[in-house]
């Protein structure tokens, strides 16, 4: 009977004889590592934009239409110093949080209904089909008639901007949970709310998080727009009102300072709050690149 032959090779010996060593791991240089960090790259972009702003505004030399960055920052610091900007921002954020959380609770109830009953699914689909394309701000005139000038109208509009985006994403997330995971959940004898909480919600978390982010962005925009339209409620204006008021006073650096505050708050929430949640959840679980 013929047999295959096996010849052993001494890999390490061959290498040693040639006086070489295979490089298995090479450390990257500090610059290369820094460039691989998205935060570093994005900071660089912001610095470039800031320099461009400053240079252009100085060439233009017209503070009534386009103040320089340094002027804007000076105003920003002054207005933060006298407390106006911070109280305005806080007023906005209070209303925003209220509207956001009411929206989230309603979205949660609606999706619960949608995954447990077929008529609930139909209801959610019909409502999102109707209201999702409708900019929430378009409801503001109506809200003003129903609820008058005040927080109630703002919250009503905000709920509309949050609810449909979050409900739509959460529901889509639930639907995309794999058949295998559902079977695993039932194998563990999980039913009803426990099944939703322990299997569906974590499995759909990437979509839910996307919904939360979109909802937040919608709410923030809607709020600033709404404040521009009717401004003060019970003597307390928000950031939108701050921008509007200062435009009327032709204090353009203050307008820019207000806009900058809107941007900064948006960036902070996106990068600190949502990025942190993302890092601790979906990235850690390998559910998102």
């Amino acid at each position: 009977m013929t047999q295959a032959t096996i010849t052993m090779r001494d890999v390490a010996g061959d290498r040693a004889a040639a006086g070489k060593r295979a490089v298995v791991v090479r450390e990257l240089g500090a610059l290369e590592r820094a460039w691989n960090n998205a935060f570093v790259r994005k900071t660089l972009i912001i610095i470039v934009l800031a320099v461009a702003w400053e240079v252009y505004a100085r060439i233009l030399d017209n503070p009534l239409t386009f103040p320089t960055l340094s002027e804007t920052i000076k105003t920003l610091i002054e207005r933060i110093g006298d407390g106006v900007l911070l109280t305005r921002a806080w007023t906005s954020i209070k209303v925003l949080l209220l509207g956001y959380f009411v929206g989230l609770v309603l979205a949660g109830l609606l999706t619960m209904l949608a995954i447990t009953t077929r008529i609930g699914t139909d209801f959610l689909e019909t409502m999102t089909a109707m209201f999702n394309p409708l900019p929430a701000i378009a409801l503001l005139p109506l809200a003003l008639i129903w609820f008058g000038l005040g927080t109630a109208s703002l919250v009503f509009t905000l709920v509309h901007s949050v609810l449909w985006a979050v409900a739509l994403n959460t529901h889509a997330g639930f639907l995309s949970v794999s058949h295998t995971l559902r079977m695993v959940g039932r194998n563990y004898e999980l039913t009803g709310f426990a099944y939703v909480r322990r299997i569906l919600v974590p499995a759909a978390f990437p979509s839910i998080l996307t919904g939360l982010k979109i909802g937040w962005a919608f709410a923030w925009r809607t709020l600033i727009a709404a404040e521009l339209v009717f401004g003060v409620a019970s003597g307390q204006g928000g950031l939108g009102w701050f921008i509007f008021e200062n435009r009327n006073l032709l204090d353009i650096p203050a307008v820019f300072a207000g806009l900058l505050t809107v941007i900064v708050i948006g960036l902070v929430v996106e990068n600190l709050v949502f990025r942190t949640i993302e890092k601790k959840t979906v990235r850690r679980w390998g559910m998102q690149g």
């Binding site: 194998n187 004898e189 999980l190 299997i199 499995a203 959840t281």
Partner: protein, 256 residues
């Protein structure tokens, strides 16, 4: 005498949007404690559907499935499933949390007790080093070992395995088959194993049920499979005989 698992004249049907398909037609078999019972057949013989029915995910249209005399009505932790898909592990839990999870939700064990048990079974499948890793960092074979550890840790009446090694590469598959046998030597659990590979059925099983397709019907039952030796060509001989039984059908209309 009550059998551990008694599948008694089971007919399974499922609906597609356009038709009603009969997956199995009056299939009967019995599994005893400590059996490594393999359901073997080509695709379309309803072996996976049958396993899902034992798992409680489908209700037989005819006949009955009993586990230790109790009729199977819904999924339950007395029949732990091991699926083919790698996504059967919960990605938001670490390896040890994955194994602990059914112990705490279905067995209602206290946290400490569940963790102790989970770590013991993770050691059995040689994954102690990865116990605190998230599952996306594991290879396919490692994920299947976690799924097996999770099933075994529950100490179910029967472990239901649905082609658990089919998505693995050939080398890993061989390795996993040996490992499953080693685990069985260790704890002598009862397992119902679905496969379409004759070689795998012979390596894994001590009893094999051959199913023919369209609709799934029992063709033959092979017992004492573990007595054949792989060395002297008996296994190869058995493999050939089973192959002929499954594919050289004297009735051509039932052949695929």
């Amino acid at each position: 005498m009550t059998h551990l698992l008694d599948v008694d004249g089971v007919t399974l049907r499922y609906k597609t949007p356009s038709s009603l398909i009969t997956a199995t037609d009056r299939v009967s078999f019995q599994v005893e404690t400590g059996d490594r019972f393999v359901l073997l057949g080509p695709s379309g013989c309803g072996k996976s559907t049958l396993l899902k029915a034992v798992g409680g995910y489908l209700t037989p249209e005819e006949g009955e499935i009993r586990i230790k005399g109790r009729t199977v009505k819904r999924p339950g932790a007395d029949r732990m499933m091991v699926f083919q898909e790698f996504d059967q592990l919960l990605p938001w839990k670490t390896v040890v949390e994955n194994v602990m999870f059914p112990l705490s939700v279905a067995r209602k064990l206290a946290r400490r007790e569940a963790e102790e048990k989970a770590r013991a079974y993770i050691e059995k499948v040689n994954l102690t080093k990865f116990a605190d890793s998230y599952t996306h960092t594991l290879s396919g074979g490692m994920k299947q070992r976690v799924a097996i550890a999770r099933g075994m840790a529950m100490e179910p009446d029967i472990l239901l395995m649905d082609e658990p090694f089919a998505a693995l590469d050939a080398l890993t598959r061989r390795h996993m088959q040996d490992e499953l046998l080693r685990l069985w030597e260790d704890t002598r659990f009862t397992v119902l194993f679905v496969t379409h590979s004759i070689a795998e059925a012979i390596r894994i099983g001590n009893r094999i049920l051959l199913l023919s397709p369209h609709p799934g019907q029992v063709k033959a039952e092979v017992n004492d499979v573990d007595r054949v030796s792989a060395e002297n060509g008996e296994a190869a001989e058995l493999e050939k005989r089973i192959h002929d039984l499954l594919f050289n059908d004297p009735h051509p209309e039932t052949t695929v």
